[in-house]
Amino acid sequence: MAEGAVKKEATRDGFGKALLDLGGQNKDVVALSADLTESVRAHWFKEKYPERFVSHGVAEQDMISTAAGLALSGKIPFACTFGVFATGRAWDQIRISVAYMNLNVNIAGSHGGISVGEDGATHQALEEIALMRVIPNMTVVVPSDSEEAYAATKHAAGIPGPVYLRLGRAKVPTLSDSSDFEIGKAKVLTEGDDISIIACGHLVAKAMEAAYQLKSKNIQARVINLHTPKPIDREAIIKAARETGALLTVEEHTIYGGMGSAVAEVVSEECPVPIKMMGIRDVFGRSGSPDELFKHFGLNEEHIIEEAVKLVERKGKKSRC
C-alpha cells in the first residue's frame, strides 16, 4: 500500500465526529468527560451542545455511575476518558451501576494500546478488552480506522445495553468502506486458504500489509477484521478455522483475555486448529514512539509475516505441539 495515497486519521477522531452528529440527530444523547474532553475528541460535542455535556473533573467512578443515572432516566450517555482509567478505576461502577442493569451507557476509552507512545505504561491501555469482556451484557468494539469508529459509535447509541469503544490516539490509514459495518459481524478483508490472520484495531492495517507480502512467499492469507471481540462472530471464526486450518491473532493488547483469547475460546470448543496469539506478553508498556514500540513488542508487518510462515509450517506437521 502506498503511503500518502490513503487518508490517515485516529479512531478517536471518528468517534468525535459521530458523537457530534448523534447530538444533532437525537436530543437524548449526552456526553460526560473526566477532564480529557479534547483528548477523547468529545470537545466538538461540548462546544455545540454545552447543555448536554457533563464535566466530572478527574473522577471516573462518579462519571460512570452518573452516566447510569442519566441512562435510567432515558438519556443515551457517552462517558469519555482514557481506556486505562475508564476500565481500571471504574471497573466495579461499570459492572454494577451499568452492566448489571444493562443500561445504554456507552464508554469511549481512548488511548488504547502501545500506539499511545511517549506517555508510557501508565497511560497505555493494554488490558481493557479483557476487563470489559468478562462483564455480562457488555459489548466490546475495537474499530480499526476512523470510518469504522464513526460507524461503531453510531451503532453503539442504538444498542440498548452497554458498549465499550476502544479508541486510539495514533493516526491510522482508513482501510475500507464502513457502510456495511455491523457490531458483532467480523469483516473478511482478503480471501485466502492457507492461514487466517485475525486482527483488530490499529493492527488490521499491518495484517493487511503482511498478507500482501505473504503472497510472494506463496502463502494466501485470509485477513479478518474482528472489530467486535464481544459478542464474538463465532460463525466467521469457525469458518476460518475449517477453511484455512490455522489462526494467527494480532492485537495491541495483552494476550491474556483479549481478542486472541476470545478467538481461542471459540476454536478450542468448536474446531481446534493451531493458533498463535500475537500481542503483549505479560509486560507493561513503555515510552517511545509508536513505531519504536511496535518494533520493540514485535508487532510490525515483518513479525506478522514471520509468525504466519511458522504457523503454516506447523499446520502441515502431524504433531502440532
Binding site: 473522577a59 443515572g69 442519566l70 432516566s73 466495579d92 442493569m101
Partner: protein, 278 residues
C-alpha cells in the same frame, strides 16, 4: 394505598414494618438486620409524606425517585414497597430465594425499585445522573438517596458530593443513616468520620442533623431542607442500628446476621409491647 401523615399512625406502621423485616430475615436465614431496622422511619417518611409517586404507574416520568445506595438495607425497602402496594405481601417471604424478585441485594425489575445496588458508594452518583436528566428535561422532581455512614468511607461518595454541589443540584436530597456502626465495629474506630456535618457543609451541601427515628423531627427537618434552592441538601439522621429490638440494638455483630426462630419470637413480643405504648 392511602398515604399516612399522622405521626401516631406512622409509628404504628413502623412497628409493623419492623415485624415484617424480622420475619423475612428469619425465613431467609441470612441478611442484614441492623441496617434494615435503622432506616424504617426514614423510608416511611419518604414514601408517605415526601415523595410524589404513582404506585399504579411507577415509571411515570415526573415522579420523585428514591435510591437505596446502602443496598444491604433492602429488607426494609422491600417491606415498605410491598406495603405501598407495589407487589404482593406474600412475596416478602421469598426473600433471598433463587426464583425471588427479592434478591439479597436489590436488583432492578422489582416494581417500585429505581436501581440495583449493593456495591457501596455508587448511589449518590446515580442520583445525580437522574437529577441532571430531570433538569435537562424540565422535570420538577426530587431524587432522594439514602446512604450508610460506613458507606461514606468510599471515595466515590465525595466525588458525587462535589458533582452535586458543582452543578447546584437542588433537586438532590441525600440522607445518611448515621447509626455509628459498620461491620468491623464503631465507625469512629474503623474509620473516623470526624466532624461529619462540617464535612458535608464544606463540600457545598445544605446540611442538617436530625433524630432519624422521630417522625416529628424528620418532618421538621425535611420541610426545612426541601425549601433550599441552589444547593443539594443532606440530612444526617442519627439512628440506632437494630432499632426496636433490645438485644439487637447497637451491636455491630447484628450487621449481617438474621434472627433465629426463638430470637424472632422474642423480638416480635418486644415490638408488640412497644406498639401498645404508642
Amino acid at each position: 394505598m392511602k398515604k399516612i401523615t399522622d405521626t401516631k399512625e406512622l409509628e404504628r406502621k413502623a412497628v409493623a414494618i419492623r415485624k415484617d423485616i424480622l420475619t423475612m430475615l428469619e425465613k431467609a436465614g441470612s441478611g442484614h438486620t441492623g441496617g434494615s431496622l435503622s432506616i424504617v422511619e426514614i423510608l416511611l417518611d419518604l414514601y408517605h409524606r415526601r415523595m410524589n409517586i404513582d404506585v399504579k404507574k411507577h415509571d411515570w416520568k415526573g415522579r420523585d425517585k428514591f435510591i437505596l445506595s446502602k443496598g444491604h438495607g433492602c429488607p426494609a425497602l422491600y417491606a415498605v414497597l410491598s406495603d405501598m402496594g407495589f407487589f404482593p405481601r406474600e412475596e416478602l417471604w421469598t426473600l433471598r430465594q433463587i426464583e425471588s424478585r427479592l434478591q439479597g441485594h436489590p436488583q432492578l425489575g422489582l416494581p417500585g425499585l429505581e436501581i440495583s445496588s449493593g456495591s457501596l458508594g455508587q448511589g449518590l452518583s446515580v442520583a445525580n445522573g437522574m437529577a441532571i436528566a430531570d433538569r435537562m428535561d424540565g422535570v420538577n422532581a426530587k431524587t432522594y438517596c439514602l446512604m450508610g455512614d460506613g458507606e461514606t468511607n468510599e471515595g466515590q461518595v465525595w466525588e458525587a458530593a462535589m458533582t452535586a454541589a458543582h452543578y447546584k443540584l437542588d433537586n438532590v436530597c441525600g440522607i445518611i443513616d448515621y447509626n455509628k456502626l459498620q461491620i468491623d465495629g464503631f465507625c469512629c474506630e474503623v474509620m473516623d468520620l470526624g466532624s461529619y456535618k462540617k464535612k458535608w457543609e464544606s463540600f457545598g451541601w445544605y446540611t442538617v442533623e436530625t433524630d432519624g427515628h422521630d417522625f416529628e423531627e424528620l418532618n421538621k427537618n425535611f420541610n426545612e431542607v426541601l425549601q433550599i434552592k441552589g444547593k443539594p441538601q443532606l440530612i444526617v439522621a442519627h439512628t440506632i442500628k437494630g432499632k426496636g429490638v433490645s438485644f439487637i440494638e447497637n451491636k455491630a455483630e447484628w450487621h449481617g446476621v438474621a434472627p433465629k426462630k426463638d430470637e424472632l419470637e422474642r423480638a416480635l413480643l418486644e415490638l408488640e409491647e412497644a406498639e401498645k405504648k404508642i
